[in-house]
Every structure is written in structure tokens, then in C-alpha cells.
């Protein structure tokens, strides 16, 4: 059993694993950070997205060994109900999620988009979120929420 040290949501944490190839996803969930969701394990759906050193990645494809020493931000780390990230606040205001299973990954990727491009166009948002699947069909609300979070639309 090896210990992989990371900074998760601003706190130094250790993921214990006997397998260096264990996906970061299971490491995070094993620590109780269950906002990050298992969707496919294939990097095809976006449900498990987190920020790794500020960059959105699919945590089902990142290994704990590769994540060692890096900074991870999950949905829990972006904000809380009391102090939500602007994207979270906009998702709540626009009542985006239905089942909500894809929501975590979408918010994380949208937050990364706005960090890089504070005033994206609708097409920028569609492109940035093209790797995120939603079965309930909340897409138009997602786009509206990200526009609102960037201070556009209304």
C-alpha cells in the first residue's frame, strides 16, 4: 500500500492505494469527496471532471501516481451552498440540474472556461462542454447559466 500525497481543495491529503494506476476518481471518492461522479471510466462523458493544477481533466483517466504532488479542485472545492462559486450560483438560479448526475463535471469545466475566458460566446460554451453528456436534456439551461455566470445575458 503506497501513499500518494496531493493538495485537494486547498488541503494536503493522502490517497492510499496498492495500485499506482488507480484512477484519481476512485481515490477522491474513497476520501468521501463523492461530488465527482463515475460515468464511463473511458473519458467519454465528462461526469468525473476535476481541475488538476487548474486544468479540467477527467479523473477516470488520471492515475493517482500521476496526480501526486499536484493540486486538485473538485465541485466541493469550488464553493458551498452558503458561498457558491459564480457558476454554481448561476446553475442554482437557472435551476439547471434534473437528475443532476452530470452537473458536477459541467460546473467544473464551466468554471475552468470562465477562468480562461471570462466572457465566452455561446459557441465557446458549447465547444468547452462538448465532452459533457447529459441525459435529462438540461443543455439549454447549462448554456444560459454559464452565460449568466460570466455576467452576460440575463
Amino acid at each position: 500500500m503506497a501513499s500518494y500525497r496531493l493538495r485537494i481543495n486547498g488541503v494536503d491529503r493522502a490517497i492510499e492505494s496498492s495500485d499506482p494506476d488507480q484512477p484519481l476518481l476512485y481515490g477522491l471518492r474513497g476520501l468521501g469527496l463523492t461530488a465527482t461522479k463515475f460515468g464511463c471510466g473511458l473519458g467519454q462523458c465528462g461526469a468525473c471532471s476535476v481541475l488538476l493544477d487548474g486544468r479540467p481533466v477527467q479523473s477516470c483517466l488520471e492515475t493517482v501516481a500521476n496526480a501526486q504532488g499536484k493540486s486538485v479542485v473538485t465541485l466541493e472545492g469550488l464553493g458551498s451552498i452558503a458561498a457558491p462559486h459564480p457558476v454554481q450560483a448561476a446553475f442554482i438560479k437557472e435551476q439547471v440540474p434534473q437528475c443532476g448526475y452530470c452537473t458536477s463535471g459541467m460546473i467544473v469545466s464551466a468554471a475552468a472556461l470562465l477562468a480562461e475566458k471570462p466572457k465566452p460566446t455561446e459557441d465557446d460554451i458549447r465547444t468547452a462542454l462538448a465532452g459533457h453528456l447529459c441525459r435529462c436534456g438540461t443543455h439549454v439551461r447549462v448554456i444560459r447559466a454559464v452565460m449568466a455566470a460570466s455576467g452576460q445575458g440575463g
Binding site: S18, Y26, F38, P84, Q95, R126, R135, R141
Partner: protein, 748 residues
């Protein structure tokens, strides 16, 4: 005067249990903590007083506590459609209390009455109306109690803000003072007066859904996130062919994985481990030998296989008119065949469940939409009395249909019994795409005769559909069958034969179905069961008849329609589309990028919502690619409880069904499903999403009917009709992939 009884005290031991168990559960899971209490209390004997669960009894639905807060016990579950707020709005409105004072328990067989499966868009329509009746009965009782205490008549009193007060002013009595913590002991009164909709203050308001903030901040507990102490993680190993039998297992193949164990019961094979990743690795590493099996039909010949099936039961669903005579001169005859393939529920999260099974009882946490209905099935294969089996709903990844949730729950229950510890089963992506029960295939032949004025002289629909097995309580589940346990056998595709006749005037109509006794892959109700295919055929064929008569598609429909609410939604959708009257196809169909508009209408099940939908598309002739640019929808589901919730349902119905119509088809070879991931079974992505214009038509004095399925129904027809308008080519087989569109265009 309502009879009142003192509440049964909850024994201290049960309360202690409640708190020890509750501390083990995540924050925000009060309902589950409470749920445990119910179970423990019940287990400790009749003196502790199990909850009343009879849906004829008021106490089954509603309780007032000592602080005056109301708890609603709802048998229907919230899958994201917003019942958690809508039910509070309905109850709070009738009762006279704010939604923030209403606690909520749902889908727990030990705590909530059986209101039937959450399906068929009947959550509000049936479940909500039971809750409305319960709240009205409670208000009547509270007012009667207050009248006695205040020495006034019921007519002098009003229930508002959690108290009953004199209409003319003066001090009132809080609900808690009137009945706090006591049972009502009343039957639901179907004659209890209902509030006049003109005085509604909660119903009809777009109140926010209470689960949304937690879902957006990562504090919401899905069944995938639920954990019990000492729980093991499991993966079930499905065979490489649908009907394969397990020949041998090489347990040494996982001996290097710490703690990994094999569970085998006949053809049921699984691995368990203390942590999830080890379970995943064990499932991948385990070597097993299975028998060969290749009993599936050839995919390319599926429609022909259905048509050739002679082991069918024929049923005439409908005949209208005097029978078809000779075709008058000038009348035009058309016929066409439509096909809808098998589709997956395609939830974003694969199915998951947690179970704790002892010798005498089973508790299963599941995202099933039918916890109460599942109970009988689970009791049967676990060989337990029904009341020893408890299912508790927790949200899963949605699809608005019957995906693998029930199967995962059965997996977990069987494994929990086998290993003697609580078990969490998580399906893989491959499991979900490969083994979720599928939306059934549907084949339809349509023929009709229309006169030059656009009057339908005759119409005939002939369908080939898998038949629902009579009396089947549930769908057959994978693992009980594999393990050789007592399971139900048969098919449960849902009510898939409705809306196969035109809603328009026609001199003669006949609808026939050839019921198939089997289906290539196990079927289950997929969102709006059967109706998207039937309406695709009926509304596409209506369009064909309109084109034959040289009439504008909307004008053609309005000429044959008497239903005023239908006419209203059609006119409203036409206005949203800025519809210019002309026959289809349009004038520019030879262009490289050609644009068109299409229309479709349904009166869902001929008794529920009215939906009219227009669609604007661009078709790239060289590639066959369809770009849906705009969808306009006018939607009338009667009284709207929560307009934002209803709108979200319509939006989602449209986008999910666009995905199904454009992209989705389960692929299979002779042995198994081969579309096992999101690249072989793609669904709609952000760049494909059109602009949506939705008009909800509120009818406050009409009964509320389902909002969650009806808008699925018109999507494929509106889309196919728009492609016809753009290109002159008819798409009659779903999905409308670029290859299929291109070959259809090349054939024109």
C-alpha cells in the same frame, strides 16, 4: 368531528438506533436516518406502531408534528422532474401552510404509501391528486377541530400560514395546537372541499426545486454515493453472450488482488472487495469460461424478422366508420412503413444499489422508480415475507425510464445475502449499455386514402410490437434468473400501442396490432413508452397525406381537428414558428444546404397533454447531416403546478428525444449487444442542441396531467417532416444518421 388518537411512542431503543445510524450517514440524508428509525421501531413489535401505509388513510400521507411542521409521505419519487417541490405546492396550497414548513419523505416502502410506480407521467396526475385529496381532508379536519375549540362554525374559519383563524380576525390556533403529533385517523375524503384555483398562492408558481443547491455544490447523496459501515464493493460479471451459461471460473486469476473474492451462484458470477478499485480490477482480471450462444436475430433484418414472426396474437385495437368502400375518383392512396429501433436508457451514471440482507430481512437502497412494486419481486427471489423487504429510494442517474436500477438492486440483494455483509454494486459503462433493459423495436405499416380537399377517407395502422405479459408484477431481472432463483418471466415494454390512430377526422380508421411473444433483447418502458414511434408514424403519414392533397401541413391538421385545446396548441406553435402557409416540400430543396420546417401534433394517450411542435432544420446534402436549428413547442398539460418544473420537463423531453431520433440505435451481433460505450452509442452533445421556444398554456381549472412524456412524442415526426420539407425525402426509419439520410436522399 375527526377522531383523534394518541401517537404510538417510539421506543428509546429505536431512537438510539436512529441516532447511531444517522451519524454514520452523510449530512443531508435525514430522510434515510428517519427511515432507519421506522424500520427499527417496526422490528421491535407492534407496540411501537408501524406507520400507517394504507393509501385510503390520511395518516399515510401527512403528519403534523409538535412544532406545527407538516411531513408529507410520498410514494412517488423525484427523478429530477421536481415532485419534491410540486407535491409541497399541492399540499401546502390545500392545507394552508408554506412549502418551507413541509418536510418530505419519498419512495420508502416502510414509510410511504404505495402510490404506484413513478411512470407514465402520472406523478402529479395521480400521485399529486392523492396528496391534494389528503391535504384537503386534513384541512377540513383541522378547521373542524378549531371550530369546536373556538366555538365558531367551519364557515367562519380559514386555514392559512399553518394555523386556522377566524375570517373576521382574532386569534387563531396553530396546526400544532390542534393536532400536533397525533394521528388524524381519517379516511381520505373525496368530498373534502378543494381550494378554488383563483385563490391559489402556491400552485402555479415557479418555486425552486429544493434538491438543486445540493446537486450544484456536491453535497447531494446519490445511491452511488451511499455507504454503510462494513460494506463491500462488488461487480457482477455478465456473460459474453445473452444466453450463455457459466461453465467454469478460475478463482486463481484474482488471487493477487488483496481481499478480492468470487461469488458464484449457478450462472450468476460476481467479485467483491473492500475497496471499489480492487473490485473493478478483479472484475477485469477474473477468468471465466462461458458456453456459446447466438440466439439474437440479424440486426440488418430485424424489421423483417418481426414481420415474419408467426407466433403472434392479433388484436384489433380500434375501428371507426362503416368500412372502406371503393375509392372515389380523384382520391389518393398512400402507404408507408415505419421502424423504430431498440434504444438504451443511456443514463450518464451506470446503475448502482446498496443492500443489507439478514436471515430475516432485507433493506435495499435503490434508484428504482418502483420501490413498492419491486417489493413483491424481491421478496420472491429472496424467499422472505413481503413485509420483511424494504426498499428505500435514493436518486440515481436519470433517464426517465426503467434502466438497470432494479437489476443492480437485485444484484446487491443476492450478494449481500451471499457474503453476509452490506454490498454496494456498481455497474460499469459496458454493463449499462449492454444490459439495461431496452426500449423495444416497433414496426408500423400505415395506409390511407385522402380526397383532394384534404379529407381522410380511410386510415389503417398495423403494428408489430412485443406484448406485455399479463399480470407481470415487474420486469424479469438478470441476476435472479442467472442465480436460478424464483423470478418472474415475461415481457414488460410498457403501454406501447397508444396514439397509433390519427387525432383527425377520418371516415374509416382501423388499428391492428400483431403482438409478439418475444423481443430480441429484454424490453422495459423507455421514456414515453411506444408513443414516440407511433406518433412518428402517424404524424409523418399525416404529413404525407397533406402533401398528397397539396395542402399546408398545419391547415390539413386543423381541417380535421375538433378538439379546441388541440387547435389552441397548434395555433400557438404555428405563431411561435411564424409559420407561412404553403404545402411541403419547400422550394429550395436542391440546394447544397437546404432548409425546411416540419410540424407534428399529439393529444397524448388521447386523454392527457396536448402538444404541438414545429421544427426548423438544415440538411447538408453531401453528407446527409441534419442540423436542428430551432424547436418550437406549445404545451397544454392542464393546470400547471410549477411552470419552471413543467418547462424543464418539456425542454428535456425534446432534447432527449431529438437524441433518440437522430442518433440512437442499440447495435448487436448474434450473441450480444455491441454498442457498449458512448462512441458506439452516441447521444446528443452541446454542439447539436437547437434553440428551444416553449409556450406553456396554463389551464388552472382543468385537471393537471403529465408533463414529462408527452413532448417526447412529437419530436421525431416534426423532425422527419422538416427534412421532407427541406429535401423532398421521407425518413421512415429511426435514427436519422447521416448515412441513412444520404442514402434516402440519393434514392429520391
Amino acid at each position: 368531528m375527526p377522531a383523534l388518537t394518541a401517537p404510538a411512542a417510539r421506543p428509546a431503543a429505536a431512537i438510539a438506533q436512529l441516532f447511531t445510524r444517522r451519524t454514520m450517514l452523510k449530512a443531508g440524508m435525514l430522510a434515510v436516518g428517519f427511515a432507519f428509525a421506522g424500520s427499527r421501531a417496526r422490528a421491535q413489535g407492534a407496540a411501537s406502531g408501524p406507520r400507517v401505509l394504507d393509501p385510503k388513510e390520511l395518516d399515510s400521507f401527512l403528519a403534523v408534528d409538535g412544532d406545527g411542521a407538516v411531513t408529507l409521505f410520498c410514494g412517488k419519487v423525484d427523478l429530477g422532474q421536481g415532485l419534491r417541490i410540486a407535491m409541497r405546492q399541492i399540499a401546502g396550497e390545500e392545507l394552508g401552510i408554506g412549502v418551507d414548513k413541509i418536510k418530505y419523505v419519498e419512495g420508502d416502502t416502510a414509510l410511504t404509501p404505495d402510490q404506484g410506480r413513478t411512470s407514465g407521467s402520472n406523478g402529479i396526475q395521480r400521485g399529486g391528486m392523492q396528496i391534494r385529496r389528503a391535504a384537503a381532508t386534513a384541512r377540513e379536519a383541522l378547521i373542524a377541530l378549531a371550530a369546536q375549540r373556538l366555538n365558531l362554525t367551519a364557515d367562519d374559519l380559514v386555514a392559512v400560514d399553518g394555523e386556522v383563524r377566524p375570517k373576521n380576525g382574532g386569534a387563531g390556533l396553530r396546526f400544532a395546537e390542534l393536532i400536533g403529533s397525533k394521528s388524524f385517523n381519517l379516511k381520505l375524503n373525496s368530498k373534502a372541499p378543494l381550494k378554488d384555483p383563483s385563490r391559489y398562492t402556491l400552485v402555479g408558481k415557479p418555486l425552486p426545486r429544493p434538491d438543486v443547491p445540493a446537486k450544484c455544490t456536491g453535497t447531494f447523496t446519490y445511491v452511488q454515493d451511499f455507504a454503510l459501515p462494513d460494506m463491500v464493493h462488488a461487480r457482477v460479471i455478465r456473460p459474453p453472450a445473452v444466453g450463455a451459461k457459466l461453465v467454469a471460473v478460475d478463482e486463481t486469476s484474482i488471487k493477487d488482488l488483496p481481499g478480492a473474492k468470487v461469488v458464484r451462484i449457478n450462472d450468476f458470477l460476481a467479485v467483491t472487495a473492500d475497496d471499489e478499485w480492487t473490485a473493478v480490477r478483479a472484475a477485469r482480471a477474473l477468468r471465466a469460461q462461458w458456453s456459446t450462444w447466438s440466439g439474437l436475430p440479424e440486426q440488418d433484418k430485424l424489421a423483417a424478422t418481426l414481420r415474419a414472426d408467426r407466433d403472434v396474437t392479433d388484436e384489433v385495437l380500434l375501428t371507426r366508420g362503416q368500412g372502406v368502400g371503393s375509392t372515389p375518383s380523384g382520391a389518393m392512396t398512400r402507404s408507408a412503413t415505419f421502424f423504430w429501433p431498440m434504444q438504451s436508457h443511456a443514463s450518464i451514471g451506470p446503475s448502482c444499489a446498496v443492500a443489507e440482507v439478514t436471515e430475516n430481512s432485507a433493506t435495499i437502497w435503490t434508484a428504482s422508480q418502483g420501490t413498492h412494486g419491486n417489493r413483491k419481486t424481491f421478496a420472491r427471489f429472496l424467499r422472505l415475507p413481503e413485509d420483511a423487504v424494504r426498499l428505500i429510494y435514493l436518486d440515481g442517474a436519470g433517464c426517465y425510464g426503467m434502466n438497470g436500477h432494479e437489476d443492480a438492486a437485485a444484484d446487491a440483494a443476492i450478494l449481500a445475502r451471499a457474503v453476509g455483509r452490506p454490498v454496494r454494486v456498481q455497474w460499469s459503462r459496458e454493463d449499462e449499455h449492454g444490459w439495461d433493459p431496452k426500449g423495444p423495436p416497433q414496426l408500423l405499416d400505415l395506409s390511407g386514402v385522402v380526397d383532394p380537399s384534404g379529407h381522410i377517407l380511410s386510415w389503417r395502422t398495423e403494428m408489430w410490437l412485443p406484448q406485455t405479459t399479463r399480470g407481470l408484477p415487474d420486469i424479469p431481472l438478470l441476476s435472479p434468473a442467472a442465480a436460478g432463483l424464483d423470478d418472474v418471466r415475461g415481457l414488460q415494454p410498457g403501454l406501447i400501442s397508444q396514439n397509433a390512430d390519427p387525432p383527425y377526422a377520418a371516415d374509416n380508421v382501423a388499428v391492428l396490432v400483431h403482438w409478439l411473444k418475444d423481443a430480441p433483447l429484454r424490453p422495459a418502458p423507455i421514456r414515453s413508452p411506444g408513443k414516440p414511434a407511433n406518433c412518428f408514424a402517424v404524424e409523418s403519414f399525416t404529413d404525407e397525406l397533406a402533401a398528397a392533397a397539396g395542402l399546408d401541413p398545419i391547415e390539413f391538421r386543423l381541417r380535421g381537428l375538433q378538439d379546441q385545446r388541440g387547435i389552441d396548441v397548434i395555433r400557438r406553435a404555428a405563431a411561435l414558428m411564424n409559420w407561412q402557409s404553403r404545402p411541403s416540400p419547400g422550394p429550395n430543396r436542391a440546394a447544397a444546404l437546404t432548409r425546411g420546417r416540419g410540424f407534428a401534433y399529439v393529444h397524448y394517450k388521447h386523454s392527457e397533454s396536448h402538444v404541438a411542435m414545429g421544427m426548423e432544420v438544415a440538411v447538408e446534402r453531401s453528407s446527409g447531416r441534419i442540423k436542428v436549428e430551432r424547436v418550437a413547442c406549445a404545451f397544454d398539460c392542464g393546470q400547471i403546478i410549477n411552470p419552471d418544473g413543467a418547462r424543464a420537463q418539456v425542454e428535456g423531453s425534446i432534447l432527449q428525444t431529438l437524441s433518440r431520433a437522430l442518433m440512437e440505435e442499440v447495435k448487436f451481433d448474434r450473441s450480444r449487444v455491441t454498442s457498449l460505450d458512448w462512441s458506439s452509442y452516441p447521444i446528443l452533445r452541446f454542439p447539436d442542441v437547437p434553440k428551444l421556444d416553449i409556450a406553456l398554456i396554463d389551464r388552472p381549472t382543468e385537471p393537471p396531467v403529465g408533463a414529462g412524456e408527452a413532448a417526447c412524442t412529437t419530436v421525431a415526426a416534426a423532425l422527419a417532416n422538416a427534412v421532407f420539407d427541406a429535401t423532398g425525402a421521407r425518413l421512415r426509419t429511426v435514427p436519422f444518421t447521416p448515412d441513412r439520410v444520404k442514402s434516402t436522399l440519393d434514392g429520391v
